[in-house]
């Protein structure tokens, strides 16, 4: 009890609460900024981790690739290009084709991959599975779903999931949160994805029935992910594929990353604004509260100087108190922000969303920010007070 009293002197409750409100605002705004940053960075890491290829033309135009059908023969050609380590055929379909495909980074997607193959993406060698298991060779009729996808539908391993056209899948795994696109994926075996595509697109069924162009099911790919050999320059390799295998849409990882950054420039600016706003609001609130608390006790400091306290003793004493108060307020503010964040996220999770990301670096920064700013504010106030004579300080505080 004495320890708590020393850390938090009597009469500082409202000061601590005032600081807590400022820090809570700072942490909440920071957590929203962290969430958006992680999302953008995740997308960036993904596109920089593989070369995405699609067939020539417009095609499905969904997910990370845009283009026409990528036939099996083309995939084999790509695999023969020097510097290519692996090519993985993929089928990427919007879960709900009736909605706008405008925000492809936030839409829910069905991703069909070869369950026996390894992820070719260098940044996402394997997606972390939180519950259940990943896809494996020979799987059919099963799905591994992203964290938000699962949360918005209450899915767990063993649950049934109807993806499209009445086709039911068994959920065998739920991914850990990546805070980027895969959180909203339903990943199914490639052949199952091709089935879903055929069920949805009557034109494709007619094409296959008519045997147009001698196409087979293995030609039914919306794109492919290309992995490069160790030491290869991915952008140079992408251009080489473009040159050596005609009839492809090849994304250059570096260019795609730049495009992604440009398209998210607004969010980056928003983040900067949120960060500055958080620092200004939180900082002003905190420093104002601490300064006011010190000035409020000007009479006490006058009495202490009358009893012989030197400037240094008074400064040390006030800084010690400011440290205790700022730490308490900072910790309470962090707790408050975590509680509010948890409440809000619990509400928006029903829609598969997460608004806040309380990263350790953010929380450490908030506590450090409180202590440093609290100390600076207390020092400023003390230096103002020690300029007064003891009698003047007592008069002003009366």
């Amino acid at each position: 009890m004495v320890g708590v009293r020393r850390l938090l002197p009597r009469g500082y409750l409202f000061t601590v609460l005032g600081i807590a409100v400022g820090v809570a605002g700072l942490v909440a705004l920071g957590a929203m900024a962290e969430r958006i940053t992680r999302f953008i960075d995740g997308g960036d890491r993904f596109v920089l981790g593989q070369i995405s290829v699609a067939g020539e033309g417009m095609g499905m135009g969904t997910g990370f690739t845009a283009g026409g059908l990528l036939r099996a023969a083309k995939i084999e050609e790509i695999a023969r290009v020097p510097g290519v380590a692996a090519v993985q055929a993929q089928v990427m379909l919007p879960l709900d084709p009736t909605t706008s495909q405008f925000l492809t980074l936030t839409q829910e997607l069905i991703l069909g991959v070869d369950p026996a193959g390894r992820m070719p993406n260098r940044e996402f060698r394997e997606l972390p599975v939180r519950a259940g298991r990943a896809l494996r060779a020979g799987d059919r009729g099963v799905a591994v779903v992203g964290a938000d996808f699962a949360a918005s539908r209450g899915l767990r391993p063993g649950a049934a999931l109807v993806l499209a056209a009445g086709r039911s899948f068994e959920v065998v795994g739920v991914l850990d949160k990546t805070l980027t696109a895969p959180d909203r994926f339903a990943i199914v075996p490639l052949d199952d994805a091709r089935d879903l595509w055929l069920r949805r697109d009557p034109l494709l069924v007619q094409v296959f029935a008519g045997g147009v162009g001698g196409m087979s099911r293995s030609d039914l790919n919306t794109g492919a992910a290309v992995a490069w050999a160790d030491g290869a320059d991915p952008d140079a390799l992408a251009r080489r594929i473009q040159r050596e295998v005609p009839g492809l849409n090849v994304t250059i990882p570096g260019e795609l990353s730049r495009l992604l950054r440009q398209s998210t420039a607004f969010f980056s600016a928003l983040l900067f604004g949120i960060g500055v706003l958080g620092l200004v609001i939180g900082g002003l609130s905190l420093s104002n509260t601490v300064t006011a608390a010190v000035f409020e006790r000007i009479r006490d400091f006058g009495i202490k100087r009358a009893l012989g306290a030197t400037d240094g003793q008074l400064l040390r004493e006030i800084l010690g108190e400011a440290l205790g108060v700022s730490l308490s307020g900072g910790a309470l503010g962090v707790g408050l922000a975590l509680a509010v964040g948890a409440l809000v996220d619990a509400r928006v999770l029903r829609d598969g969303q997460q608004l806040f990301l309380f990263s350790p670096r953010l929380l450490a920064f908030a506590i450090g920010f409180s202590v440093v700013l609290g100390g600076l504010a207390a020092t400023y106030a003390t230096l103002r007070i020690v300029r007064l004579s003891p009698a003047e300080a007592i008069r002003r505080g009366a």
Binding site: K304, L307, A309, I394
Partner: protein
């Protein structure tokens, strides 16, 4: 400790910025163990005089000597040491710190003079026992009566056994009984410990206890009160 204050002058600024002279070349002396009362009408500069002598307010002119040291010319830091070790203050409005208990308020006097806590604690408890407020040690000022607060303030003022005690209307807010206790204590300090006491008061009975009474009028010393009052 002998006090010699020469030519003390002080001017404040009024709300309109105009100078308001309060003291004009006041001379005060007190020998070691002497009890000196300062009397005069309200606004004549009694409290300002005490603040100047106590180094609580900067001088405009004059000098203050404690024994052979001109304390008014010392550095800020050295004046802090003098305030902590050589001077004790008892204020009319007690000036206790609301966030500290009665005992913590008393011990505050020892904090800034690097006095060992155990020793200060023993002295504080003994003082509070003698003044009849030991049972209030853990109470906060707001939980104490005016008389109890003044006794706590008195304990704080004399905790470090300062050779000079300055008391500004210490009985102004007290009833007769409590006032008598404080005045008797101050008188006892002079007789038993050789402490010099400067007492600002309106009360004739308080002034009567003093060895001499100085009379101030409009910031000037009217009388040095050369003889013992009683």
């Amino acid at each position: 400790m002998a006090l010699r204050a020469r030519g003390l002058s002080k001017t404040f600024r009024g709300p309109d910025g105009r100078p308001v002279p309060v003291l004009h070349g006041v001379e005060v002396e007190a020998k070691a163990g002497e009890f000196v009362a300062v009397a005069g009408p309200s606004g004549c500069g009694k409290s300002t005089l005490l603040n100047l002598i106590g180094l609580l307010e900067p001088l405009d002119a004059g000098e203050i000597w404690l024994d052979d040291v001109c304390v008014s010319r010392l550095s800020r830091r050295a004046q802090c040491r003098v305030r902590g070790r050589s001077l004790g203050y008892v204020f009319q409005s007690f000036l206790l710190i609301a966030g500290l208990t009665a005992l913590e308020n008393v011990l505050l006097a020892a904090r800034y003079v690097s006095r060992p806590r155990a020793e200060a604690l023993a002295t504080a408890r003994a003082l509070m026992e003698r003044l009849g407020v030991a049972h209030r040690a853990d109470h906060y000022p707001a939980q104490l009566s005016g008389g109890e607060q003044q006794r706590i303030a008195y304990c704080r003022a004399v905790l470090n056994a300062p050779p000079l005690v300055l008391a500004d209307e210490p009985t102004g807010n007290l009833d007769e009984g409590h006032a008598a206790v404080i005045l008797a204590e101050l008188r006892g300090l002079c007789r038993e410990r050789g402490t010099s006491v400067i007492l600002v008061t309106h009360r004739a009975d308080a002034a009567a206890l003093a060895d001499r009474t100085l009379r101030l009028r409009e910031g000037r010393l009217e009388s040095q009160g050369g003889e013992r009052n009683s």
